[in-house]
């Protein structure tokens, strides 16, 4: 329960001196959340970007038929927020829920702006964060457009084995864009092939 993990996360991309570390840490708010808690509700302003120290969170969008669309999962050492709404002070489109009891560190938009002004190095850090998020999301688009449901499922399994262990199949289905029933039948076909 200290800031080591997040500091290492930052240190992957930029070097901070002791004072900058203090400034940064002072802007973060520790939060402990229980399983099934929503840390963000659609409609409310998304004030924070959250770093997951431990646990698993999920962002999802409720479409107009009430279906949950899983936008992202976040396990420890990941950042999560409704980025568009966070950056633009807009009401959130997404919900963010804890899938397990979790410890998170929250940085408010105000503190982020202050941080970027006072410690410009963080511009670089967030540039890289955004770069990675962008290229990951672009790859997801490409895979959605060029791969079958089965291939997408296999890639998910090999890319995020640690996530597979901790989320339900229904949630994976809604991330991949297939119905849970169909995902179930894909799994069955896979088993038949093996045996």
């Amino acid at each position: 329960m200290n800031g080591e993990l997040i500091l290492r996360n930052v240190a992957n991309h930029i070097d901070l001196d002791a004072e900058e570390i203090t400034t940064f840490l002072s802007m973060l708010k520790w939060k402990q959340v229980k399983r099934k808690t929503l840390i963000l509700n659609s409609g409310e302003v998304c004030k924070y970007i959250s770093f997951v120290h431990s646990g698993v969170l999920r962002a999802f969008y409720l479409d107009n038929q009430g279906k949950q669309v899983t936008v992202m999962f976040a396990v420890n050492d990941w950042w999560i927020t409704d980025m568009y709404c966070f950056l633009n002070y807009k009401p959130a489109m997404m919900h963010i829920e804890a899938l397990t009891d979790s410890h998170i560190l929250q940085l408010s938009k105000k503190n982020l702006d202050r941080l970027l002004r006072t410690v410009p190095k963080f511009e670089k850090f967030f540039r890289i964060l955004m770069q990675n998020a962008y290229t990951r999301e672009q790859l997801r688009v490409i895979e959605r457009l060029s791969l079958s449901a089965e291939e997408r499922y296999n890639r998910f399994l090999s890319k995020y084995p640690h996530i597979v262990k901790v989320v339900t199949q229904k949630q994976i289905a809604s991330y991949l864009g297939v119905s849970p029933e169909h995902l179930s039948s894909l799994k069955k076909m896979k088993d038949l092939k093996i045996s």
Copy 2:
């Protein structure tokens, strides 16, 4: 044929003094490309990020069945590259072609790195560029997962009317993830509804 457009693009997010402007411009390479030219081929290292001064470009991915998947369009005042491969010196996954005769300004990875070191303000500029790219791509994922082909087509029409005018229907189909035949029939159904 001067740097006004790109300087205004940059000035939207950061303020540069005369010297910084000179430095920046000196790192750019003007290029004139004819319709149907590939400025990037899949497999070759993606050396440049390109700013479109005039014309229309398209990035696409060739899937293992030889089908073209349109990753993005870029009209004037937009940036385009195979971001992942550009940033990581990897062989490109995409092709980038000019759909019309175009004027572009190219910034090499080396110059970008140098620019970020010598004019740190550009960290902010590229952070914002990446932010916008990320949130746009995330919205695309959400729309792909929650909207029907018809709705996605309608959103494309209203969001990118200027692009609709200059690209073929087949290319739009491959951006939206539907077959060109099906997009054609969607259009027909729309016409019937109106009349």
